[in-house]
């Protein structure tokens, strides 16, 4: 079995984003970029499945600017076998990404695609589900545990009410939640080794997918700021304050 893991290059989760003055978006110049944290979890899970002898190959793919290569190198350094960069300088939406991923899934013959449940930049939480629908495959989203057996995959999912377990027939699509695993750090030797692993480069335009955005972003603005509050000296003062404003 081959596992495909799409990875996205995003502003690092520790960075407090700044907006461009003209309201056109988030300023990403000179900002630390990293692999979307949920995608790291997806890579880790794919590697664990391979290490358990349930997959032969883990292929990482990223769609975006040339620098997505760095994100792919991270995936290779973690242990992915090879990488595919689908290059585009255009802002590309989840629907178009899912369409390209559907073609790549078929091209490489992946029985399992593991994605992060959401990207921490646009917080859309839709690419994995769209991919599953386009491929006509069952999906296990927000996964906190996976178990492969007899051509099926049991997926424990984090849902609003707690946990839920589904059984999916393969091929399938899974999206990773935070508690699926704790991703490994790439060791120095593995980072060196990753430089020699194969990375194929293709152009998004080659997939015959219409990349025109469906959402016309008119403005990206600051959220309403909260006014700074006060410090209270002790619990008694806290309770008094809360009572005075009718909060309790």
């Amino acid at each position: 079995m081959k596992i495909l893991v799409p990875v996205k290059r995003v502003v690092d989760y520790n960075v407090k984003v700044r907006l461009k003055a003209d309201g056109s978006g988030v300023d990403t110049a000179n900002v630390k970029m990293s692999m979307n944290p949920f995608d790291e979890i997806a890579v880790e899970e794919a590697l664990r499945i391979k290490e358990a002898g349930n997959a032969e190959e883990v292929i990482a793919v990223s769609i975006g600017v040339q620098q997505c290569q760095e994100t792919l190198r991270t995936a290779l350094a973690m242990g992915a076998d090879r990488a595919i960069l689908v290059k585009t300088d255009a802002a590309i939406e989840p629907l178009a990404v899912a369409k390209i991923l559907a073609k790549i899934t078929a091209d490489v013959g992946a029985d399992l695609v593991i994605l992060g449940k959401q990207a921490i930049d646009d917080d859309s939480n839709q690419t994995g589900q769209m991919l599953a629908a386009l491929l006509g495959r069952p999906q296990g989203t927000f996964a906190s545990e996976l178990n492969l057996a007899d051509g099926k995959i049991a997926v424990t999912r984090e849902v609003d009410g707690g946990l839920e377990t589904l059984s999916l027939s393969l091929p399938a699509v899974v999206t990773a939640d935070l508690r699926l695993n704790e991703p490994r750090y790439a060791s120095l030797p593995n980072i060196m080794k990753a430089k020699r692993k194969p990375m194929e480069q293709l152009a998004a335009e080659d997939y015959g997918v219409d990349l025109t955005p469906r959402h016309n972003v008119i403005l990206v603005s600051e959220p309403a700021a909260r006014e700074a509050g006060v410090k209270v000296a002790n619990v008694a003062e806290l309770v008094a304050k809360l009572k005075s404003v009718g909060a309790i």
């Binding site: 502003v11 407090k16 984003v17 907006l19 988030v26 989840p94 629907l95 899912a98 921490i120 930049d121 646009d122 917080d123 859309s124 839709q126 690419t127 994995g128 589900q129 769209m130 599953a132 629908a133 386009l134 069952p138 296990g140 989203t141 927000f142 906190s144 984090e158 849902v159 609003d160 009410g161 707690g162 946990l163 839920e164 377990t165 589904l166 059984s167 399938a172 935070l178 508690r179 469906r214 959402h215 016309n216 972003v217 008119i218 403005l219 990206v220 603005s221 600051e222 959220p223 509050g229 006060v230 410090k231 209270v232 619990v235 008694a236 806290l238 809360l242 404003v245 909060a247 309790i248």
Partner: protein
């Protein structure tokens, strides 16, 4: 054309989140020549839910599909069902619960449109606002798609009233794809209010130190009739179950009062609670970022503050 509202339920009651989505749907309808809003109830033995849904203000018709295929909200089955219905609708609206987040993008993909995730404002017939970057930026967008697939951030909309009287149309359109099957669920049960809709929430973080220590929080919650939440760190450490997580990638809450205890205030946590009306922070580190959003900050060890708080309430 009309708007289809997906009704989330537990087999007995309409989820309160749906009532918030109904308000968003009504606002959208006002820009669409007062388009009708139809509510979709899919479930098994779900007559009571359909009857409740018929009362949602603004809904003119309930489409009730009662079939074993919908005993559990499997994405594949719900996708086929709603996609089929969408011929007659120009928009599909649902609260951004884990159920809707699971299947709505599938419907969007099959209709060849983008989903508009977690809207916080309706500006026009195709214009919306939604938070991005953990709520650190607000995106104002216009969709060029011919059908709108929308999930609604429930904290941004009022609860629709239950004073309507829609007609109920039973429809049988069982689709069972069988490519995924429900195995089991471990749902948290509690007598406390639901985290997502509680008026008061008290959350614990890594500073709680253990699951046992959450008893200190429980005692305060009992006094206040509050729901209990947690930071990711507290969930990851196994102090409390996953459904307690508040934040960018957990639940988004906006109660009248939010009390954060032993939580540092990482942006991912703030994303889930900073729209609360009043925020209280109890933390022994006076420089903890949580104090920057707190209306009332108490710099104190939580192990002394919580028992005292319980006693003084």
């Amino acid at each position: 054309m009309s708007i289809l509202l997906y009704v989330e339920h537990d087999g007995t009651d309409v989820n309160e989140a749906t009532l918030k989505a109904a308000t968003a749907a009504s606002q959208l309808a006002s820009y669409l020549d007062n388009a009708e809003i139809h509510a979709l109830v899919a479930g098994q033995n779900s007559q009571a839910v359909a009857e409740q849904a018929a009362k949602i203000s603004g809904v003119s018709r309930v489409i009730h599909v009662d079939n074993a295929a919908y005993a559990h909200p499997l994405a594949e089955n719900l996708t086929q069902l709603t996609k089929g219905l969408m011929d007659n609708y120009s928009a599909l609206v649902a609260a951004a619960t884990t159920t809707a987040k699971n299947f709505m993008p599938c419907v969007a993909a099959l209709l060849d449109v983008m989903q508009i995730s977690e809207i916080i404002k309706v500006n026009s017939a195709n214009g919306f606002e939604r938070p991005i970057y953990a709520g650190n930026a607000i995106q104002t967008l216009e969709s060029s798609d011919d059908k709108l697939i929308i999930t609604v951030r429930t904290t941004a909309f009022k609860t629709a009233t239950l004073d309507g009287s829609a007609s109920i149309t039973a429809q049988d359109s069982a689709v069972n794809t069988a490519s995924s099957t429900f195995v089991s669920a471990q749902l948290s049960s509690s007598d406390r209010p639901e985290l997502a809709s509680a008026k008061i929430v008290i959350s614990g973080g890594r500073g709680m130190g253990s699951g046992e220590n959450f008893a200190l929080i429980e005692k305060v919650a009992d006094k206040l009739g509050a729901a209990i939440g947690a930071s990711r760190a507290a969930v990851d450490a196994g102090y409390v179950p996953n459904d307690y997580q508040v934040g960018q990638t957990g639940k988004v809450v906006a109660p009248d009062l939010y009390i954060a205890v032993g939580i540092s205030g990482a942006i991912q946590h703030l994303a889930g609670m900073k729209d609360s009306k009043i925020i209280v922070a109890i933390n022994k580190d006076e420089d903890a970022p949580i104090f920057q959003v707190a209306d009332y900050g108490l710099v104190e060890d939580l192990f002394t503050a919580l028992p005292e708080l319980e006693q003084k309430l």
